[in-house]
Amino acid sequence: MSPADHGRNDQPEPAVSPGEFFRRVYQFFYSKTVGLILILTLAALVLLGALITQATAGTYDDAMSKAIFVQDMRSRYGALTGALDWLGLFHIFSSIPFLVVAGLLAASILACTIHRLPQLWRRHAHPPIRPGDRFFARARYRATIATSRPTAQATALASRRLRQGGLRLVADGDDPGRLYADRFSWGGLGTVVAHLSLLIILAAFVTSSLGKIDANLTLGVDGPSVAVGHDSGLELAASEFVSQSDAAGRPLDYMSHLVLSRDGQVVAEQDVRVNSPLSYGGYKFHQWSYSQGIDVLITGPGGVLTDATLAIEGTTEDGAAGASYELPGSQTVWFFVPVSGQTGADSGIEPGQALIEVAAGDQLVAQQTVASGQAFVLGDYAFTFEGENWITVIAARRDPGALWMWLGSILLVAGMSLTFACRHRRYWARLSPGTDGRTRLELASSDPEDVSFRRLFDQLATDLAEALDGVVLDQTAETGADTGAETEPRAETGTAPETGTEPETKAGISDTPDTDDASDTAPPDTARAAARQTRETAHA
């Protein structure tokens, strides 16, 4: 190591103060390029989530469920299954990469919004009203109107016409021949509202994921009530279930009549369909699914083990539908009934009867066919078949994030509408005596290429000419990209900043508005050309 190297290593690293550190972090997040990259990254992750089968919620919380799911996926993804699982692509929306990108995007939206507010305020309250000569010569939209009226009178008429057109007029106190007019100067607030709404929506997602109650309650029709749980004190019962289909077997309607009670008192009841849930106390009860079931009563040495409707779990090859109940120990009792609409020809079970089997593992211990209401007694156990029944599955939901979601959604739509329907339109005018003795009104604007704005601009030029009894001499709407047309107004060289001076203002660009809005952004090549011109002007 050379002495010089040694000396360098001895020097302390330049310290970054906490303030500077946070400023840099803030700068990073309000960079719209960062925001754009995050949006595209999120889009790529979401696309993966759409293309790759996603595990249902909770699957990855249970090792057995996860193993079964991954095994199922092997038939679809083959050798890739392991890699997809390792990368977390089967539960991408709860994976670390997705949450990190979503979090970074939220930070980016927040920083951009905070950064943008002062700019929007300046644009509204202190618009740049005195652009330089070059702007009038090279603006993307420009028109020259000649009138025989004196300059002062023409200025007054033009001002009146601009106001009549619904434009806000800002006069230059130092130079009455300069006019600035705009419409929807507050339109940029729409982007703030829209961006804040996205934060609210993200917060709603977080609130929902942390505080949402989502439980499926299985109810036998006319069966016992089931506790809703979650300290609600509510109990739910179904007194009726109807499933209607047409002749072709296409479903027409599912309806459960639900009775909600607390402390034995009915607090709400309603016919619940898919699109008409029962709402009570912040809970909503949705018709989720249904199945056939078997009403059973099972008693054991200690009394009643269950008095409920068991869901049909499957059918046998000979046309019997079965439901099971795990007995204490290692035995299972199965109840078989004929599949709906079939006689007992194949299974040997007649309608109104049930075959009850008690098994220990794969070994049949005992069996008996009983009629409805009869019991099969086996040792200390009694298995009573009480008849066939419907089971309706009701989703009990309570989502504290939903309200925030709707608030965010309303603000999002409102903000977007403001942003796109109320775009800030700006016009600069300069009136001066021409060499031919007539007054010249130069009108210019700096919006990006925009067919409809071009029409608006043309119409305004025509209207002004009419108001001044003048004629439009020249009108150009060339594109900046092709012609190097100036896309932002700049002050004359050496002109002291007047209004709307940006903090980063340098000589020659004293009144350059910010360019981070769609209505103001110049194409990069044009922006570079403008910058070159600015430097030349500054040198001059």
Partner: protein
């Protein structure tokens, strides 16, 4: 009154034929168009409120072919040798839209709900959205050339609609919410139509260097693609919000990462990236055009997604 099945048998092939007639007519107009480039700088003349280069002169024809752009003093004027044919092309498209409207209204009356309940109805409505969006844009900008890109999409979707069963099916229990069905899918139709127009503008922009027949200024195509995307994006937003509202009503969860929901979110994010890219990076030209093509591909992915992605929207097929 014929049944909707008979109407489907009559109207949809007729719509397809009309779309093809309009497409052929537009292609003939474009391929037989001659371009001359005279200087049209007119002498300034006095007259209150009149432009020196009077728009009522030949320059206004240039406006017609340049998306309503202001007549430049040095603009080349594109002659229109087949004025009548253009009217026929537009007329055929309007008649096709009118027939689709009649068909969709008839289905609404027959079924008692918005005509968006199955794949056939949604496909017909999609065609309706595409044609309506195109006609609005043609009316506003007189950019007939867009038809060359829009009408093939409409024709393919019409063929697809014809291939699907047109019989009236009972509304699945999950769809039995007439208001939200109409609003949610209605906004999807409008958004998809606008997206198709933005795709058409982008496709023409990308093909322009290879096809001399595309005489529209690239800036005009770029701007039109952007403006159509500006319409698409809020419509997509409203569609997704309404979908979330419906999901919350029917399933008790405003967002379930259902594949179709997710595909719609991908579409939304692509259009969001397009609009941000335009603001942040000044994305115009080819880059922007490719993003719009990608956006419409995402629209089609979301539209057809229920066929291969499954999920809660599977009844929509």
């Amino acid at each position: 009154m014929p049944s909707v099945l008979e109407m489907a048998r009559l109207i949809l092939p007729a719509v397809l034929v009309l779309e093809l007639i309009a497409l052929v007519a537009d292609i003939v107009i474009i391929t037989t168009r001659t371009t001359r480039a005279p200087r049209v700088r007119a002498p300034a003349r006095a007259g209150a409120g009149r432009r020196a280069d009077d728009p009522s002169s030949a320059a206004s024809e240039a406006t017609a072919d340049t998306g309503g752009a202001a007549p430049s003093a040095t603009a080349a004027v594109t002659a229109k040798p087949k004025v009548g044919l253009g009217a026929y092309a537009t007329g055929a498209t309007i008649v096709a839209l009118a027939l689709l409207t009649v068909y969709l209204v008839a289905r609404t009356i027959e079924t008692g709900h918005g005509p968006f309940a199955n794949g056939h109805e949604f496909a017909v409505a999609f065609v309706w959205g595409v044609l309506a969006a195109y006609l609005v844009v043609e009316r506003l900008t007189r950019l007939r050339l867009l038809a060359v890109a829009v009408l093939p999409v409409a024709a393919c979707l019409t063929l697809y609609a014809i291939s699907l069963g047109a019989d009236v099916q009972p509304l699945a229990p999950a769809l039995q919410n007439n208001l939200l069905l109409t609003l949610h899918v209605g906004f999807a139709i409008l958004a998809y139509g606008a997206a198709c127009v933005s795709f058409a503008a982008a496709a023409l922009y990308l093909l322009r260097p290879r096809l001399k027949l595309i005489t529209i200024k690239p800036e005009t195509l770029d701007d039109l693609g952007h403006r159509a995307a500006v319409v698409t994006f809020p419509l997509l937003t409203i569609m997704i919000v309404l979908g979330a509202l419906w999901a919350d009503t029917a399933w008790g969860s405003y967002w379930s990462w259902d594949p179709k929901e997710t595909a719609a979110l991908v579409t939304w994010l692509i259009y969001a990236a397009f609009l941000h890219g335009r603001v942040v990076r000044g994305w115009r030209g080819r880059k922007a055009a490719w993003l719009l093509v990608l956006g419409f591909a995402a629209v089609l992915f979301a539209y057809f997604g229920n066929h291969f992605l499954g999920g809660l929207h599977s009844y929509g097929g």
